[in-house]
């Protein structure tokens, strides 16, 4: 569906990546050096950032939030809601956002809730913030989007190991003068194309879910690990991402030529190249920013903005910036925002 929510503005965006760098070319020992070169050319991912076992997505997001709050000079007691968008919460319960209220020193009367979403998740965070700002007395909402998905990847699963990285982000949205169009699409029949089978209520953790198996491609994983069916995701993205972009443009009564920048979920270079070609978008308006981070799920859109804003703002105002997330669900979600008056901070390293 598509709709518009009025009276909004993004005050600022900050992102944090873990310190540990893994170069994909070093994985040649495990996966074969000829293959690795071809994989890097295709995925566009040269290196990923990943957390140590003890670090959670919330830790990355807390640092991003503190960084943003300090630079933007916002009194934290004026934050009315905190939304944590992630597939890697601290615990099964309680919601990680509740812990973040306390850790960030936010008021006790804030709204705090989690959204379990990945690649489209950032837009889900933004739409929730937009609804709170337009329909309640909330004046400022903090959206934290991040994943530590590398913890869910089996070290011998080539299909995922060479693509995904960890990152956290913080975005503060307030009341303003922008009207944001949104477009959403969901097809739950694709649930098993990108999922972690065990660990929920359907298949609880059990000694059986830890048993390793090898798939047709020679990737090893267990039911506790992330699985991705690249072919199904590619077909879904090629069909529904252009429809989502078109849908949000129709809702906003804009043409693609009016858009200053298209910030897509940074899935992989192969997919983005074909999507850009299919939609006939100018390459320099649709940046690819995953070379040193990989696919960071719900953090990938703010992270791409954080990495590329300086380069983009030299050529354009970012007044009409289209965000499009797609993937797990399967789902797509798009919106158009004005970043011309937004404080955008470059990515920081965790612990810096």
């Amino acid at each position: 569906m598509q709709f518009t929510i009025n009276g909004l503005h993004i005050l600022g965006i900050a992102t944090v990546v873990p310190r540990r760098i893994t170069h994909i070319s070093d994985m040649g020992d495990v996966f074969g050096s000829a293959d690795i070169e071809r994989i890097i050319n295709s995925s566009g991912v040269q290196s990923i950032r990943s957390v140590d076992e003890k670090i959670c997505a919330s830790d990355l997001c807390i640092q991003a939030s503190e960084h943003l709050l300090s630079k933007i000079c916002v009194d934290r007691t004026t934050i009315d809601a905190v939304i944590f968008v992630s597939q890697t919460p601290d615990y099964r319960l309680p919601a990680t956002s509740a812990l973040m209220q306390q850790r960030l020193g936010l008021r006790n009367d804030v709204l705090a809730f989690d959204i379990n979403y990945g690649c489209s998740g950032y837009i889900y965070g933004l739409v929730q913030a937009a609804m709170l700002l337009s329909a309640t007395t909330c004046n400022k909402v903090l959206v934290c989007a991040g994943d530590t998905i590398t913890k869910l990847i089996h070290p011998k699963d080539r299909s995922a190991k060479v693509l995904f990285g960890d990152a956290g982000s913080a975005t503060i949205i307030e009341r303003g003068y922008e009207n944001w169009p949104f477009h959403f699409y969901t097809d739950g029949s694709g649930e098993k194309h990108l999922f972690v089978p065990a660990g929920g209520s359907r298949i609880p953790y059990h000694s059986n879910t830890c048993i390793e198996f090898t798939d047709e491609e020679g990737n090893i994983r267990t039911q506790n690990n992330l699985y991705m069916n690249g072919m199904e995701i590619m077909n879904f993205a090629l069909k529904y991402v252009p429809l989502s972009v078109e849908g949000v443009l129709v809702e906003s009564k804009l043409n693609k030529e009016d858009i200053n920048a298209f910030i897509f979920h940074q899935a992989n270079k192969l997919m983005l190249d074909f999507l850009i070609k299919k939609m006939k978008l100018p390459k320099d308006s649709a940046p690819i920013a995953l070379q040193n981070t990989g696919n960071t799920g719900p953090a990938s859109i703010p992270l791409a903005i954080s990495i590329k804003w300086r380069e983009l703002s030299e050529k354009t105002s970012l007044q009409k910036t289209l965000f499009c997330g797609f993937g797990v669900g399967l789902s797509t979600a798009s919106t158009i925002v004005d970043l011309s008056k937004t404080l955008i901070l470059g990515p920081c390293e965790y612990g810096s």
Binding site: S42, S159, M231, E232, M234, N235, L238, K239, M271, F274
Partner: protein, 73 residues
């Protein structure tokens, strides 16, 4: 048309082989899951054809792949 197809296929598979229509896909080292995903994207974007996994599993040669994307008639 066939030559253009072979050029595009060589490029997306990132292979050093000199591809022709009769090469068995089993002899192309790059015809793995990454090669298949790339082909699916090429079929959609370059030829406007939706190709699914079972189509690829049934394909034996490069010509079979060509038949999946070439226009009818």
């Amino acid at each position: 048309m066939e030559n253009i197809f072979l050029e595009k296929l060589t490029e997306i598979l990132d292979t050093q082989l000199n591809l022709d229509m009769d090469i068995n896909l089993g002899n192309i080292e790059e015809w793995d899951s990454l090669g298949m995903v790339s082909f699916i994207a090429m079929a959609d974007v370059e030829y406007g054809k939706k190709v699914i996994f079972s189509d690829l599993k049934n394909a034996q040669t490069v010509r079979d792949l060509y038949m999946l994307v070439k226009s009818e008639g």
